[in-house]
Symmetry: C2
Subunit: 187 residues, 2 copies
Amino acid sequence: MEALFQYFRKFSPLSKEAEKAIAEISSMVTIKKNNDLQPIGHTCKTIYFIKKGVARIYYFKDGIDITERFFFENSIIARVESLFTGKPSRKAIQILEDAEVVAINSNQLFKLYDDYPEIERLFRKIFESAYVETVNRIEGIQFHSAEERYNALLHEAPDVLMRVPLKYVASYLGITQVSLSRIRGHR
Amino acid sequence: MEALFQYFRKFSPLSKEAEKAIAEISSMVTIKKNNDLQPIGHTCKTIYFIKKGVARIYYFKDGIDITERFFFENSIIARVESLFTGKPSRKAIQILEDAEVVAINSNQLFKLYDDYPEIERLFRKIFESAYVETVNRIEGIQFHSAEERYNALLHEAPDVLMRVPLKYVASYLGITQVSLSRIRGHR
DNA sequence: GTAATTATTTATCTTATGATAAAGGATTGG
DNA sequence: CCAATCCTTTATCATAAGATAAATAATTAC
């Protein structure tokens, strides 16, 4: 739990009471590799913080498994397109390395926003920052060849290639596994 | 200005004082087609609301003009990767049809957050919603052929194809203008 | 209204990536 | 520790999209 509060401090300081209020609506979850932390079709009512492990958000498009994003230690995961709309998510969260996560109940969290503007501010900043990352990602996708995208990933997030099966990386890069393998062979 | 407050109401109600406070830090701007509302290299300190007209955010990648997104009436524009980080933006906002926009000073707006939690909440919701749109857009890009992306645009936002030069649409779709023309010829 | 500029289309050729199949490696469960 | 499964690579062929050039169409400025 302390790791979570330390993560929060990068965005915005919280009072002790606010930390306590968040602790009260949170719980620790341990989950093994290859399991879904949240299934497809479920409305997102939990914001997770990864203390240990690796996860991905994925979905199926025309029957093909597509990875939307990877998540590592010290990051927040949520299927925002469900969390912020209240609609069921077509995406799932899968654990790729045995994980310990903090689960924060989002409905209760949103209620805390009324009593603790500092908590609302904190999460505003967290999601603003996630929004910026997402906008930057689009820039990385538009108008780059598969090979350029692979090299960028190799350079910016070698962790992904070390800790995640390549078949998941391929769809993240928007290519087939076979193409990824071919690109990797080019050296 | 009333159009702006009406837009706000879709997200979260504001008290009269809060509306007044926002009005005080805002101004109306009229700007002609093909002009940059904000140039490349400028740190984003303004959030715009389009009352009338069309705009796009664009940047240069290896000397090529790339459109990140289009904006129409009744929407908020900001280069969030600069607004939320304080870093200069490599992107510009260009007007594509003579426009009237409301310019909200973001530094003053962020100060209002302290006195008016309702304003912080409103903009939190506005940007959460923009974040969701951006996440959904990635889904539309990953693993779709250029033709599928064109058809999706034709179906979901025919406005873009009616009101925007195709050369800007091509880079938005992540293809060359020549490819877009070829795809359009396929019927 | 006309010339000049800019936008769009069409054509040709090349190349990157998809689809499919199959072989080789690695991991996992009993 | 072995068998079964799953992951990754390699090979072949087909196709979508890039690059370039040039023709046509539309818009803009004078």
